[in-house]
Subunit: 317 residues, 2 copies
């Protein structure tokens, strides 16, 4: 009888992993540096070396139902990591089968944003919901879409790339994709920083606490700190970001009519500063049948735990 699962979250910098019981308690966790490993086989060897003691301590592989992995560009159908821009391993990596072989355990893999949605459904504020969308506002903008209680994968496993949808045609260039005006260019931490630089440049005569920061220190976090002190430009940055994000969310609602949209990630630390303009803009851009229906909420999962929990939920599912 399986008593626990392993959740692994592979990020561009860190890989976090943990032992998770059926109730969503993380019994043990550790991490290793992802990009220190030029070769994926070396990474898996190191992962095995660090993770096996945790598995043994929890009761051994026989009590483990399997390993769930969230990874950038992870494909649920194939178990591959395909052309992940933030990882050093190039091309198509049959990651799930490599890990399964190394550990002798069943492995399920999906992209990190879909794993986050699984975590919300099993352990977070989407418990009991069949239709919702999670939007991760972090370094990038990720998304996981749940329809009829299942992650939307599409015909090839790549559905749910909402951060790349275009919300300002001909707008800001996304250096990673070469596409102009995508949501990620504005509503990510990187996008907020860029908006800050633009607004400061466009308003040279407006005083702002943001001008005291060095270019390196000017982040979405510093924008937040200035905004709560009443800084005009910092507040405008959140207004602008929320306006755009709300428009994008309205489009998503008119696509799949979810019960809720759950926001997650660094930018949500700004609380009402980002929530209020986002909600206002979303409602303004919805047609009548969708107005005042969709719950727009922040995730309640601890950011440190959410990735491991989400990955682990893949196995219980």
């Amino acid at each position: 009888m399986a008593e626990f699962v392993v959740g692994i979250d592979i990020g561009g910098t860190n890989t976090k992993f943990g032992i998770v019981d059926k109730h969503g308690h993380i019994l043990a966790q550790d991490r290793l540096l992802t990009n220190e490993h030029e070769i994926v086989e070396d990474f898996i060897t190191d992962l095995h070396h660090k993770l096996m003691p945790l598995i043994d301590k929890a009761g051994g592989a026989k009590k483990c139902a399997g390993i769930g992995i969230g990874a950038p560009n992870g494909n649920y159908y194939t178990g591959n990591i395909e052309y992940a821009a933030n990882l050093k391993w190039r091309g198509i990596i049959p990651f799930a089968s490599m890990v399964s072989e190394k550990f002798g355990l069943p492995v399920k893999l999906t992209n990190d944003a879909n794993a986050a949605a699984m975590g919300e459904m099993r352990y977070g504020c989407a418990k009991g919901m069949k239709h919702f969308i999670t939007i991760t506002l972090g370094t990038g903008v990720g998304s996981g879409i749940v329809i009829d209680g299942k992650i939307l994968l599409g015909h090839d496993g790549f559905a749910g790339e909402l951060g790349h949808t275009i919300i300002r045609p001909g707008g800001r260039l996304h250096k990673g994709t070469g596409i102009k005006g995508s949501l990620e260019s504005y509503a990510s931490a990187t996008g907020v920083r860029e908006t800050a630089l633009e607004l400061l440049a466009e308003n040279p005569d407006t005083e702002s606490l943001l001008r005291d920061y060095s270019l390196n220190d000017l982040t979405s976090q510093s924008v937040y700190e200035c905004a709560i002190k009443g800084d005009k430009i910092a507040n405008e940055i959140f207004e602008f970001t929320g306006e755009l994000l709300g428009e994008a969310l309205a489009n998503f609602v008119m696509f799949s009519s979810p019960e809720a949209i759950i926001l997650f990630g660094g930018l949500t630390k700004a609380g009402d500063l980002i929530m209020n303009p986002t909600r206002k803009s979303m409602e303004e851009h919805l047609i009548q049948i969708f107005k005042n229906k969709v719950k727009l909420i922040f995730s309640e999962l601890k950011e440190a735990d959410a990735a491991i929990l989400g990955a682990s939920a893949l196995v219980w599912d």
Copy 2:
């Protein structure tokens, strides 16, 4: 043993209905005027009067598996028609149960665009596909989204309103919804006409065959006729419409990663004039993992039959 079904398509002007066998052959059909009936009960009485002889001729109600209805703002979950702007019957109409009671047959109802998608899946070019989107480019812009072989309904039955997604924030006002810059404001027949009027006004010195038409006769059809004669402005109208439509389609692809997008409706009569700029724009706005993957095709169903077939497919399904 059921031998046939009834398909009913309720439009703002006409209601078409027909007897359909399992192979998608329409054995008999007729129509009545929708908006001639101020009261929905009178409409159903007239429908019964005209439809029962067809049912009797086909073998009687005992051989009929049921009635499928496509209607504006039709809700599959409730069987209601809810606040349909183009119909005279106001508020929430329990249409499916009213028809079921009148005919003594099971009734399934959905919105007209979803019915069109069902028809494509059962009888049209989406046979065998599990993930696709149909876009109807008619007086308005309708859409039906199929995921894992099922119509996407969302938590309340209203999913798939892609014509109302915003593609030009702050752009052209949609008089029906009050929202600016929605796809329907540009890619519908009405939108094409408006683009024509704008381009003619903006380029007073450019000769155009379109200037020979009266305001009443200037339609998407006349734009097509001028475009194939090489008219510069008429061709620009299709370029512009395709550019916008392609952007919107790219956004839809990045949401649900369909195998195909099927275009249907009056505007598709323009053939390559609309298809080429649309495809080019869609591909330009997709991130790498989606490029050159999605089939963009025209429906092969006859427009006259498609609505009845689509509605009938609801029952077989």
